[in-house]
Assembly symmetry: C2
Homo-oligomer: 325 residues x 2
């Protein structure tokens, strides 16, 4: 039987067009059926123009939660929004997961209310895979958690993020006993702010393979499989990665075009630069799971294109397969 | 008259050798006289072996504060340490500034006690210049403050960091009305953790050119001249920059050597890669000033080599010239 995924057709900067296109891509590539949640009057014509696939259906949701709406207010007043209806579908068992590129805060708040937290979990968190490169040269990824859900954290939340992240890597990516590090300003245990110091103590006795503090310096070198922090730090690191990688490529372009010889060399090496861009192409990752919920909810980047949406759906499918298998 | 700088000869991973060599470089290149603060029995032979310059002298300090010592305890018990004696020299007016690659926390604690804070300033902060590239292609730098001093901050501290940072850029680097941004997870004013939200309000009425929240994404693109945050976030960003830039170059090397054509192109473009490395060569920056103190104290990177020490001294000289001019 096909995995059924609910997709927020109205969320994100490029919705609904890019989202619908992403869904079309997904049903072409994967063994999946998609419920496009949103305003049927807007989605139906888009869908009719692109595909006749029987694996795409529309679930009408007349309201939309905007990016700048206050999460708690939005979810209270917009019960008929694509986010609320999409999550309800998952909760009721009509879909295995929900993907949205919409308002992160609203998605989290709604997911917590509608889908609910796993027993014992205080706060669900957003886990994002950052590309890394081990000193051996082997490319890999570090799960950075929390990247966007909990701005002000208690130490216990961080210890739980560690467990959620490690379990995710074990289950979905097949890692054995993944290492967990606490992002900190030094490796010594007495380093850091109050939150880090207290979280360190909890992590020492947590049911994870805790290897201590990890300096941000070591994250790109793949020093740990799971890097734990509050969502303020995590979101800064995540967005900084994006901005830095982009700007680094611009700088490199400046230098490679600053003299004729280098310019010629760069033209010859063109393929290598293409592969480099691919390593940091966030469309390939597509989305980040909210971990700690009773069902799967994946947040896609606000500016997702069709490829990113398709890959966020792939994350759901892989997760569902791991759950079943 | 030569600017006199006190230099912690015993601080840093490569002390005293690299520090003494850095001092020798500095007196060769700049109009400066240097007091090497540390154990004379160790420094004198090193000095005798390298130079006869009359602009280098030794100020004996028999004790050393180690990297892993607890700052407050260390400064209470080691009054005869190079950090304490060096700072005292500055306070008493025998040197215009103090440079140390030693224990950051101890340096800050000692500087606050010995040199003292500027009137009205709650907490001195460490400001570091990160290389950026404006969308126009113009290379520049963003002052990231605080990068290492205050792990747990009150909103008022952040507002003061903004002012200290802006004043520094105006005075030392000649920027007119530098822009200030608050590092945050979104541009909207209601975004962020409690600290960021409260700091935003104070920054709106502060005597700086505050342009609002800045996402980490925009920092490498030079969106602001001064980027304000607590030292936990700042230190993570600073160290992440270092690790990411290094690892990015490794990744690029992997890709450039993965096929023969790219390999040849890379050889031809060699000069461009050299210039790229130079952009992120922290030895060129050398050190970061603690802002908000009554006198100048510059923290050099723990693993400073001679060039980095020399450039940290240059920062002091420039600062002193700006003070005088």
């Amino acid at each position: 039987m096909k995995t059924v995924i609910a997709l927020d057709a109205m969320g994100g900067d490029n919705a609904p067009k890019a989202v619908v296109e992403g869904a079309v891509l997904a049903v072409e590539k994967m063994d999946v059926a998609i419920k496009l949640v949103g305003n049927k009057d807007v989605i139906a014509p888009l869908l009719a123009a692109t595909t006749k696939s029987p694996h795409l259906s529309i679930l009408h949701a007349p309201e939309v939660i905007g990016t700048d709406e206050i999460p708690t207010t939005a979810i209270r007043h917009k019960k008929q929004s694509s986010i609320m209806i999409g999550l309800k579908t998952v909760k009721e068992g009509f879909a295995a997961g929900f993907v949205s590129a919409g308002n992160t805060g609203a998605l989290l708040a709604a997911a917590t209310v509608v889908v609910g937290r796993q027993p014992g979990i205080e706060r669900p968190a957003l886990g994002v895979l950052l590309p890394n490169r081990k000193p051996s040269g082997e490319p890999g990824a570090t799960l950075l958690i929390d990247c966007g859900a909990n701005m002000d954290c208690k130490p216990l939340y961080l210890a739980q993020f560690a467990k959620l992240g490690a379990d995710y890597l074990t289950k979905v990516r097949g890692l054995k006993n993944p290492t967990v590090g606490l992002i900190n300003v030094g490796v010594e245990r007495e380093k850091g702010n109050t939150l880090a110091k207290e979280a360190y103590e909890l992590l020492e006795t947590a049911d994870v393979n805790f290897i201590g503090n990890v300096e941000a310096l070591e994250i790109p070198a793949g020093a740990v499989d799971v890097a734990v922090c509050d969502a303020f730090v995590g979101n800064v690191v995540l967005k900084y990665t994006e901005g830095f990688a982009k700007n680094f490529m611009y700088m490199l372009k400046d230098e490679l075009t600053a003299d004729v010889r280098s310019k010629i060399g760069a033209l010859i090496s063109k393929k290598a630069f293409g592969r480099m861009r691919q390593r940091f192409n966030q469309d390939e990752v597509g989305g980040a799971p909210f971990l700690g919920l009773k069902h799967l909810v994946v947040k896609a980047h606000g500016n997702s294109n069709a490829v990113a949406i398709c890959n966020a759906i792939r994350q759901c499918v892989l997760f569902e397969q791991a759950e079943q298998g």
